[in-house]
Amino acid sequence: MAAIFKKEFKAYFMNMSGYVFMAFLLLFAGIYVTAINLKSGYASFEYTLSSMSMVFIFIIPILTMRSIAEERHSRTDQLLYSLPLRVSDIVLGKFLAMLAVLAIPVAIMSGYPLILSAFGTVHYTACYGAMLAFFLLGAALIAICMFMSALTESQIIAAVLSFGVLLVAYLMSGIASLIPSTAIVSFFALIVVSIVLAAIVWLLTKNPVVALVAAAICIIPLSLLYYFNSSVFAGLFQELLNTLSLFDRFDNFIYGIFDVTALVYYISVIVFFLFLTMQSVEKRRWS
């Protein structure tokens, strides 16, 4: 894992992507700090971080697009498979290298509150708590986008896919508010989600029976529950989307709440998508 980490970390600075990523993050940090902290005179860096989380949508795909797609494209994945490495070593090494690239601008940014403290009262605990959440949010997004990169051979497709997914994640609560909160709408939305899940299972396993079973497992309990107690469904889908929304989870930190559930959620997302990435890399060997 150490070897992969070293190689990947160096690779980000041998081509442009590492520099571009860091430059953009720091550029926007500068713009937001100027606008929010310096011009408007707020001493809380949390607000800046909250506004900046949007920047992730554009720059995380730049960082992650090459991670696995490039290996496949240049056939170097064969080297990795033939070396005495576990798939988890490969995926973790790559993920940690990206985290390290993210950590550099975040470390630079963590100096900003110290500067701001010269001009007002900075709540360090709230501020650095938010910084930690900001970093974990970035890590979770990296894990998601890394999985996108594992789905394709083309960096461009990986970047576009990642961008789309991040945008949906960002707009999730907005989308949720569009959906009426009646029980019947929630019920049908969940049925549609079940069918989409079953379709994904079918695409992955190419086994219609497994897909049908998956669909049945989701749909039958939902239908039964709706039949016996439809009031449960009122607003359920909205709530589900809001709960899953990565970006909205960050909001608590702005108000100075150290939301452990959010941190746990970010870590769960990281673990889940790293697992999916490993499966996807492993699957390639079985194709």
């Binding site: 190689k7 690779a11 240049s74 056939r75 498979y81 005495p84 060997r285």
Partner: protein, 357 residues
Amino acid sequence: MIEVKNLTKKYGNHLAVKGISFTVEEGHIYGFLGPNGAGKSTTMNIITGCLAATSGNVTIDGHDIYEEPLEAKRCIGYLPEQPPLYFDMTPFEYLMFVAEAKGIDYESAFRQTREVIEATRLTEHQNRLIRNLSKGYKQRVGIAQAMLGNPKVIILDEPTVGLDPKQIIEIRDLIRELGRDKTIILSSHIMQEVQAVCDRVMIISNGNLVASDNIENLESLVSRTNKLHISVRCDEETAEEVLMAINGVERMSMMHTKDEGVLDITLDTDRAYDPRDDIFFAMADRRCAIIAMRYEESTLEDIFLRLTDSDREVPASEEETEKEIFGVDLERTEYTSQFSTAGYSIEDDENGKGGEE
């Protein structure tokens, strides 16, 4: 060293490798020979753990490639068909990465990297970007990568494809040098290359292993039938009557030539008995003039072409395969597809000459 048992690989509905079994012993250079698409790369990818088999086992130095992949992979250095290089690294950086990924500590990694760079004569180019190296040097970096970590077996998939003749010779010399203290498996679709470098040959065709033996045995096997080409001025009936009566002639085929009344005849004859004198006198008795006669001892090329002729049904099980090589097949094979055979040898001759010059 390496044991492969009943290896099968299916791509969708296409059976790429059909139950191959073989054993690789220590200290030999093995040639893995077969036409394009025969299943060579697939088999090699499975042995090295890059690809999962549909069924069957591979054991390397006692380690199963699925059960103990890390131990098994430590015994192997692998160069895939397309050298897996990171173009924005220098050979030195690249080799250091591979050495460390193979679990070698920094000091030994540094030393070994220097050694393999020396051995593959990359010293002058070690600090240029791999992107800017010529194909031959890229191939060397690939071979150097396989040598790191001192693996017991080195597997090279078509190491000389796309190189110029001088580079081919250099790479072959390098492989021979390596073969002195390591087991090497190299794949190729060029017979001459295998003949030049390897001491054992495995011939694979349509996903089946059709022959596995050392070169001398295969040679003695093929030359059981030699070929005799004669041009003779006579009619077909006479030619057939005379020739089939001659001791040692097994099969004949005839062709009319541009010259009026001259037949070109190709005979398969028993290696143990040279029928040239008999034919000469028999023809002389009939007052038929022999215009040309050329005796051709069968080469490995012939057995390769025969065994890999894609039109033929090849039996799957190993015993049948062996029986086939050691006798039955040689009588059964028909030279019906002369044209395609000729096409093959032209292509291979070109490659072969490229190598010898």
